[in-house]
């Protein structure tokens, strides 16, 4: 069949319209790239296939970081918020995280509208079937309808669609999401190019009709008032928010699961791929923690104008009839109507150690990957990678240095470094415990940490710059002040915050106070970060023959050859590497890099 060669040559072509794809396309278009977003179905753009919520512990920080770099996720979530909470308020400020539940449809249409309004961004509905290469060079993408889109760079954000298989009980069928066809062409295309693929599993719980839930038997969880916004640019909105509800499984639920374990695709061995340990199915919880008599369930509304409820905590792949029986064993859900069954899904991912720090494939320059294809899970993790891939593809086209965030700068930096240095063996989710500089990476200072990058790159409109600088100064002043000026400050008429909108003086005070409270700990974090940064600059040249480093222990040598660390600091973070290995590598690299003249100088020094 002849190809239709699309008449435009794009700078950036994004495959997929999920949370990673949207941010990638918006960032590239925002940076002036001629961008195309290619998706199987425009109606499922930014679909929240699982829990319609954005944020949470660690994730909330990531969303704030995305926002500080000009991403859309936070603003769209605020716009469509139907409930919101600040989590971990009983803990310290460093680990507080906002979480917003969204009206699922509103979120989708707001994001789709953002894409439609973005200049430089074209949308197309077709399935990417093949990576188009000529020789060893990337050309673009060939679609299922045989259209050839030419592009200087391609970003793959395929989510759970690569060879997706859905399991409900012991029946399984192909699909990238329930009732959506999988993408079967890209996996073989990637493998033909030499990429190593793996398989992961995730799942989504059942949905109920709210009319059939007895809320009087559930505990109400009211939204925070006022709701904590995710975006730095969101003002207050007056919409009335909705409550969530809490109930629990009981002994009877556990009995039902135990009696039907042999019908679970997980326990019968039908699903071999690794699922996330932190997001276990209810059967996992019952089997692994038999001494827990009950397990908590959250009933969360999916929208303002729908009666559908998401049952947070009841992820399962048991057969539908068992799901129904299980559901009816729960307090308040005795007569609940199951309108969408829970299911598990298996899909291909590409081992992320094959990527460089800018999310570009080492095997095929110009090809970027973001989101679940890299083995992660979560809308926020995906969006953050999408944003970074979008920025870096643009910088590649422009000919600039890649944009890489350090582990001391952002959770985004922690995540990407983890993916690239360590790879994954289960779907990767961010945790605050993954960040060694946790006290530096707070939700309250995401703007201070990252917005300067946002301005520099041109992702945050310049009109905010003056006010941002005023805010920065206000934070510094409040942090350095020894005592809060008690009486004087109150008497003086409060100056309006207009001169630093959308930031406020109260916000600056709060941020300064936190910084001060953590004082010595922050200094310690900063010092260690500074030390590590030094080693981030000890670059390991790409062409350096790592097999020529003498004396490495076998495991380290294999790890170095597999992951090909780009810096000494990255090499040190690879699991199983010993201090002696690092010294050997260090000396080897320094020896190869040092110009001979420098040694002449040092010899004179010595003499």
């Amino acid at each position: 069949m002849p190809y239709f060669n699309y008449p435009v040559i794009f700078d950036v072509l994004v495959v997929g319209g999920g949370h990673a794809g949207c941010e990638a396309a918006l960032a590239a278009a925002g940076l002036g790239m001629k961008t195309l977003l290619l998706t199987q179905d425009l109606d499922t753009i930014a679909q929240m296939s699982c829990n319609p919520s954005i944020g949470g512990v660690g994730k909330g920080q990531i969303v704030r970081e995305i926002d500080a770099l000009g991403g859309r996720m936070a603003a769209v979530a605020d716009l469509s918020a139907l409930s919101a909470h600040m989590l971990n308020t009983s803990r310290g400020a460093a680990v507080r995280s906002p979480r917003v539940q969204c009206d699922k449809r509103m979120y989708q249409s707001a994001m789709k509208h953002s894409l439609e309004l973005a200049g430089n961004l074209a949308l197309a509905q077709d399935e990417a079937a093949q990576i188009w290469t000529e020789g060893s060079a990337l050309r673009g993408v060939i679609t299922a309808r045989n259209t050839r889109y030419r592009s200087k760079t391609v970003i793959l954000t395929t989510g759970t669609f690569l060879k997706g298989v859905i399991h409900i009980g012991l029946s399984s069928f192909r699909g990238g999401r329930y009732n959506h066809p999988p993408s079967d062409g890209l996996s073989p295309s990637l493998e033909a190019l030499g990429f190593k693929l793996g398989r992961l599993k995730t799942g989504t719980p059942m949905r109920l009709n709210g009319r059939s839930i007895d809320f009087s038997k559930c505990e109400e969880q009211k939204p925070d008032e006022p709701p904590p916004p995710l975006s730095h640019f969101t003002g207050r909105h007056g919409r009335k928010l909705l409550s969530c509800w809490i109930t629990r499984t009981g002994e009877r639920s556990a009995g039902i699961i135990r009696a039907n374990l042999h019908r679970s695709p997980l326990y019968s061995g039908r699903i071999k791929a690794a699922g996330p340990r932190y997001c276990p199915s209810i059967e996992d919880k019952i089997v692994k923690f038999p001494h827990h008599p009950t397990h908590i369930l959250f009933l969360e509304p999916e929208g303002f104008d729908t009666g559908e409820y998401y049952v947070n905590g009841l992820s399962t792949s048991l057969p539908e009839e068992v799901q129904l029986e299980l559901l009816h064993s729960v307090n308040g859900l005795e007569r609940a109507e199951l309108i969408r069954a829970a299911y598990a899904i298996e899909y291909d991912y590409s081992l992320p150690v094959q990527l460089d720090y800018n999310l570009e494939a080492k095997l095929l320059p110009g090809l970027f990957m973001a989101g679940q294809i890299n083995g992660t899970t979560g809308y926020e993790e995906a969006a953050a990678q999408g944003l970074m891939a979008g920025i870096n593809a643009s910088l590649k086209v422009r000919g600039g240095d890649p944009f890489i965030l350090g582990r001391d700068e952002a959770y985004i930096g922690v995540m990407i470094d983890d993916l690239i240095s360590k790879g994954v063996d289960e779907p990767y989710r961010i945790f605050t415990s993954r960040a060694e500089f946790r006290l530096l990476l707070r939700q309250d200072n995401a703007d201070l940490r990252l917005m300067p990058h946002g301005f520099r790159l041109g992702l945050i409109p310049g009109k905010f710059k003056k006010n941002f600088e005023r805010y920065q100064n206000a934070v510094e002043r409040s942090g350095s002040r020894r005592e809060p000026q008690k009486h004087g400050a109150e008497k003086r008429p409060q100056r309006a915050d207009d001169d630093m909108a959308p930031w406020t003086r109260a916000g600056a005070e709060a941020c300064g106070r936190i910084t001060k409270e953590y004082g010595g700990y922050i200094t310690r974090n900063l010092r260690e970060a500074e030390r590590m940064k030094h080693f981030e600059h000890v670059r390991i040249p790409e062409k350096l023959d790592l097999s020529a480093v003498k004396g490495l222990c076998l495991e380290s040598r294999q790890q170095f050859l597999k992951i090909r660390p780009r810096t000494l600091a990255q090499a040190a973070r690879i699991p199983g590497v010993t201090p002696a290995d690092i010294q050997l590598l260090w000396v080897h690299v320094t020896r190869k890099l040092r110009p001979p003249q420098a040694d002449g100088v040092s010899r004179r020094d010595e003499g």
Binding site: N88, F289, S433, K550, A580, Q583, V587
Partner: protein, 462 residues
Amino acid sequence: MLIPDLTQTIVAPASAQGGGAIAVVRLSGPEAFKIASAFLKPSSIFKTPKTRFSYFLRAEENGRLLDNTVVTLYRAPKSYTGDDMAEISCHGSPFIISRLLRLAISNGAREARPGEFTLRAFMNGKLDLAQAEAVNDLIISENESAHRAAITQVAGGISNRIGKLRAGLIALLGELEVRLDDSYEELPELDPGTFRRRAAAAAAGIKNLADSFGRGRYLKHGIRVTIAGAPNSGKSSLLNRITETRRAIVSPRAGTTRDTLEETLTLSGLKVIFTDTAGIDPRTGGPIEREGMRRALKALKTADVILWVQDLSKKSSPADRRVGKAIARGAAPGSDLIKVFNKSDLPAAGRPEDETDGGIIVSCKTGAGISGLKRRLVRDEKKAFSAGSAAVITSARHYSALLNAHSELSSLERLRIRAGTFPFELAAEHLRGALNALADILGETTPEEVLANIFANFCVGK
């Protein structure tokens, strides 16, 4: 801390291991002179140190002379490493070397990694490319020998113990991290009292292990064994029996020994110095006996091992109890106490079993039990040195890692861990700090390990 911090001051023996009349301990880094001045006297010379100049200095530990040394100072950049550097030439006893390392470490230095002096020299541009070829070889060979030491039984046993301490810290950190990262807050609140107790227990475990290195084991200087006990319990007879001489005068009369008496013996290749003392009973005797007792108490203070001799044929007497008190007050911290029950040839007085538990029953008259006592005396020392002097190095590294870990846990104990004011994230910072300190021995604790602990022990997630 996988990548060595080149801004820290490091210390290690620079001379070949395995003895020799003279050994060299090298101290290098920005704090080298300050640290050296803490135990090399007179410290005044460090105020204006001349470079490439040698001094006769006394190495002192707690005000006591450890060794007479020759110290050569090099000021940066004119040194082998390019940093400030002190080279301490001391007598080549593993005991002295290990004490010097300990002194440097407790004053702020850290044990050098294999090949780290040369690494610094290289990084500071002191070696040219040709010389640098040798750097890798050095790191490899030193790493191998350190590795050999580590796999010997002793060091392996210590690594095992440290491994257990580390697992305890990971579990404790898991308790915090799971409550920080699990937003569902379904877990029961962590009880501050329980947490404090567990943290204190971990700190005590680390302290204990660190202290066990402090007892330092003494190939050439010898083990000081003081024989103490109530009058007429048979101390001098014991000395004679052990040394197989009639060095000490014995008689059935209490108070025969009035002065302390020293005798040296080689047991399993280790030098052991026995001190026989006058019977300790403050209520008896005139000025000569009292002077004898004063000397006996002094001998308790300097002892590495105390043999407390009691008469098995009599019931525990008030004099025995007074000796027990004197030992408890006078013994040096970390010294070893062995109870010896003499006169097993006579009919036993029926002492309760818990009193003789762990003690050694002998008869100086027949010689029964003496060889067991001799074995017991050198048991720990033999273990400590079966790995040769390399074990000293390994222990010094363990010691400094444990010291750092302990200081993190002490900071943690100072936090206000109470209901309502439990700073989870700060407690976690200190636990992470402690685990980082142990990384020097056992490698990095990765977040994945902490997460694995959480997923294995807690039901988390939606």
